[in-house]
Symmetry: D2
Subunit: 371 residues, 4 copies
């Protein structure tokens, strides 16, 4: 079976996330990167083509030229992956859908809920797949956690604590990665909450299979002069009445990328940590806890199928990301991929961001999260 | 120098905390347990005397008999330790102070803020020492953390996350330890918040040297039919503007006694975990973190003086507790023990409990924590 | 029931192990320290009495004076604890036994196997109890490990790896603790192997319930000028044919007191680490492992009885040590304490040391360890 | 720059290591898999081509056909990667070299030292690059460890402990992966020692920059009926006099792939563990230890260049492997890649295996490891 051909939008020099998408997409050899609008500056887009080792003529400087020229080729792109800063997402997705191409897009989906809903209408009317890069849901043990919770292993879920500590925005001097993330014009209405809080939110709903129905948000800006939030504390209620806490911060000095989740039911509790992703631990009140290791026969078939090496050979972020692309490729081939975050999850994330930002800014206390 | 003689109030059969106080008090041989009102039932008090191996005639069934008879002895008690359920604290303390005896008392200080303030007046007018068993502040590495933060090693403090997860009250069937803790008549106005939340609160203020000035409390009752809170999420602000989160729960199935604290400044972050108490870790944004081990020469003299074995020989809860008694003994000998939680810290804890309970019950949002 | 009265031999100023024995012995209030020959220097022995807070007249400067004067008291000592450097053990034990007193003695039992056997004869003919301070066998989870292995939970034992890394003798400048340990006249024929290797050896036999039948020893001296071994690698065979490795070192810079053991059977594997002593982990080949926590209901009754606090309240070295004294006290009261290391285990340790030292020095390859 | 074209030898259906090589080789897009003799069975080789998504006409059933047909193409292969069982390595490498193609080959290099030396002569006379898949030396923090040790951060190296515990061969019923590894005809003279012991050996020499000069080997077969060793204990001496221990086992039930190394010098000690590969810890005798995290600015430039994601985004086995292929690609482009294991390291590994197997079988005690 031939490989699916990907066109990238964004991801030029200095971008962290472009090469990551390239590796993840290609890891299982179901997809290959063949073209891109890596930058709106022609020279920089061409430079990126060299870095990515794709044909120079397929590095474009505008969406229009990519879509028109690729459409004219027999080996043109099959879908696009949008990895540019948030404010570009909606327009790029629109053009791609109009060109009849499926879309894989970075989170957050857009810079506002309104845009997100508009995009949802476009996607639904197009009938085309759209995947959202809630990367952490691609980890095999995150899926194992979900499977076990849905199977009732923890009993009724009562409490969820999801945390996402980072420290890289604790200082003033920021590099290219940071710069646009703290600029409302490019990042949108949320800072930390849109950059990482939304990951934590998706993870909580994904792992538990429960929707958040209410929240109380306390978003703050710690670094002087910053225009967006960089530290978020959010209390949650889930549809079944479970209580929750979501903490996300980018000013916790010394933290790298410490996303982690704990879920407690009346029969057991579970913990998973992104920085040690190959272990999932389930505890009981008798004082015992069981650790399950990635790549081993104790896991459910779906989790096993999402690893590429035997137990004890650590897999990480890139492999988790590749699992999303594998799901996406399956959808493009007409198969089912129910765990891939879709347009609805993308809109859901924007709903979370908008609700939290508004509630915090206006000090509203507990507010409803629309479904 | 002779050992100080302790009388215990409470701590009869089935009590967990009585033997713990006995061990902690005697560990350094500065104190010895010689008498007690272990129960108001004479037979049970006598049984306890056998268990504690103290002279049978010094097991009393009432405060009055203990104080009067001990006062008549040349080797009578030098102070009392109050380890009974919360609703007994204030009366026992009152009588002891009236008898001219210093008091060491379990937390929370009392069952209400009003009682606590009344007790403070008594203590201040008596001029006698009163120590409060915020046990976790006795760990050497907690004191090291405080020393380093006060010395500026983390820079300006911006964020504090303190968590106290337990799971032992997740079920319905409760033993003697649990029973009174969920009964408002004996525990007072708070459940989880008074039993463990107050430890977390003290730890946060102790380690940072900063007072909490405002909070937003969300106290819930998860186990059906329970009358007091068993799950608490509280957002904090400190006097210097630092943001904070305090989480305490007794329904997180599988958690044992997971108190832990993370403090972040603009130069570094620090983490300490009660279940692995002999390590303190300080991280920086360059990707390095330094772990300091109890009992080693890298620590400050005060922390070293609070360990009894060389590095690598784990000490734990009992030794931390013994450090409080060592401080208390120092005070009784007229020395200074500035780190021992005193009556003000006891009142402070009740202020926290009362403020949080009221704010949560009446859904007040952010409220001020009086100083 | 009255407390047993202990006389200490050794443990004067600067000794680490004296206060440790005092705390451990008294922790459960079954024993109290009342007398001692803390030093053969009368002034120093008297100073120690002040530190230990015992009556000044019960600080002796010779064994003879202690035994004669204590025997004359109605409240004289019930047993002695010998904590002096190794070369004093045998004589002190001899005198104590001759005085009709049970003995608790630090490891290694003596400075030579010959002495050890002689002492065994004395003990056996006296009919008096003698306990040996193989402290690590007092940890509750070490006993749990033993119970589970003997119950067959791991299947047939095939492999044992026991390690004891320390770094404190990596340098030249040594304090009082180190000084006598590297002096053959006081330490005996072994350095590292006698100081910590013997702990590892006992732990391996204790946990597995299997005797070592052969060994191949490679003892080295790393620090220039040192006269005794400071780094030991020993290959083992057990009576059932299981293979083993014992590593002990005092020159592994940065290691504190890292004793740990792994035991593998055909059904499962087990690991316990002294520096995190409250967790025992059992793994299976399906990729799952179960951690058991001290103080919880998942453990066997014997292990539960050897903790003093609920799960999550860490206990450590002193509490493990106290468990040995509790066993010893039980023996003195005429009860059974089958897990307490006795004279046979003491001799066994000397057999190990002597066999390994000889085999290594003479480069004998595999040799038999006599039973 | 165009991608280098790889031909694979071995790696057909059921092989674990073939897809791993494919992913690793292609991860950085410097190499692409285009052809292969995946099996000597034509149908199975064709099936593999489908799995790998390469052109069907480039799946060959013999070395000759691949080399001749690829040589005839303008886009023929640039090098071969040999991933078949050990007994195929030498012949495949010979043919490739004869065809003028560089070779990347799995470890162990061959099934005997004699073969290995013969191959070395061929490589040296050909002037072509040959890389050996000592995968673990590709981890960024392994390289960081080496860099820091060579820079003297630990002082003079005194002790090395390298361990490689696995449990997957603890049972009798073995899958395809295991079957050939326990068959002398296909695996060669060593079982566990050749499969994983040689990794540990290379890691020890790589990280320390020191050669092993003597060893004492105790290789055993634990599972009844097995013909090769499955449990190895080896004592080492390094060229500078440092002492060492190498433990490798495949019958340690419950262990997955626990390769780890500890190196101690007179100034510090270091530990790295393959199952948690993104942390490197350096300890000192003052009781402090510093952990360095992958992908952060605290590392040397070379280690940073060997990660693809920022700190806190875990990388693992596949990325480490990709680092070897990146080095190999650099060599093929004429650049220097001094850390890539070459033919000499391959021969060195065979020297280790042969020396240890012989010494153990004939019970020789300490023997010299030829240089």
């Amino acid at each position: 079976m031939r490989r699916l051909r990907m066109g990238m939008i964004g991801g030029g020099a200095g971008a962290f996330i472009g090469p990551v998408h390239r590796i993840a997409a290609e890891l299982d050899r179901e997809i290959e990167l063949v073209a891109g609008v890596f930058s709106s500056d022609a020279a920089r887009s061409a430079d990126a083509a060299v870095d990515y080792r794709i044909a120079p003529e397929r590095a474009y400087a505008s969406l229009d030229s990519m879509f028109s020229q690729e459409a004219a080729r027999s080996d043109g792109i099959d879908f696009v992956s949008i990895v540019s800063p948030n404010h570009h997402h909606v327009q790029a997705a629109q053009v791609a859908l109009a060109a009849g191409l499926p879309v894989f897009v970075e989170k957050p989906l857009t810079t506002s809920l309104e845009e997100a809903k508009m995009l949802r209408d476009l996607v639904l009317s197009s009938g085309l797949p759209l995947g959202v890069a809630y990367t952490y849901s691609g980890y095999p043990l995150v899926r194992e956690a979900r499977a076990r919770i849905l199977a009732g292993e923890l009993g009724d879920i009562r409490k969820v604590v999801v945390e996402y500590p980072q420290g890289w925005l604790a200082g003033d001097a920021l590099g290219k990665q940071a710069e646009w993330r703290v600029d409302p014009a490019r990042a949108g209405l949320g800072g930390c909450i849109a950059d990482i809080g939304v990951h934590a939110f998706h993870l909580a709903e994904f792992v538990t299979g429960l929707r958040v129905t209410r929240l109380l948000a306390d978003l703050g800006t710690v670094v002087p002069g910053r225009l967006l939030d960089d530290d978020c504390s959010i209390l949650l209620r889930f549809e079944n009445g479970a209580r929750g806490v979501l903490l996300a911060s980018q000013i916790e000095t010394g933290e790298l990328n410490g996303l982690r989740i704990r879920v407690y039911g009346d029969k057991g509790g579970l913990v998973w940590k992104q920085e040690e992703p190959n272990t999932l631990t389930i505890s009981r009140n008798d004082g015992s806890s069981t650790s399950l290791r990635a790549g081993t026969s104790v896991l459910s078939p779906d989790a096993v199928a999402r690893t590429r090496t035997p137990g004890g050979h650590p897999e990480g972020y890139l492999e988790a990301f590749a699992n999303l692309y594998r799901d996406f490729a399956a959808m493009l081939r007409g198969e089912s991929a129910p765990l891939l975050p879709d347009i609805n999850e993308g809109v859901r994330g924007m709903m979370f961001i908008q609700t939290a930002v508004t509630a915090s800014r206006e000090n509203l206390g507990w507010v409803t999260v629309e479904h």
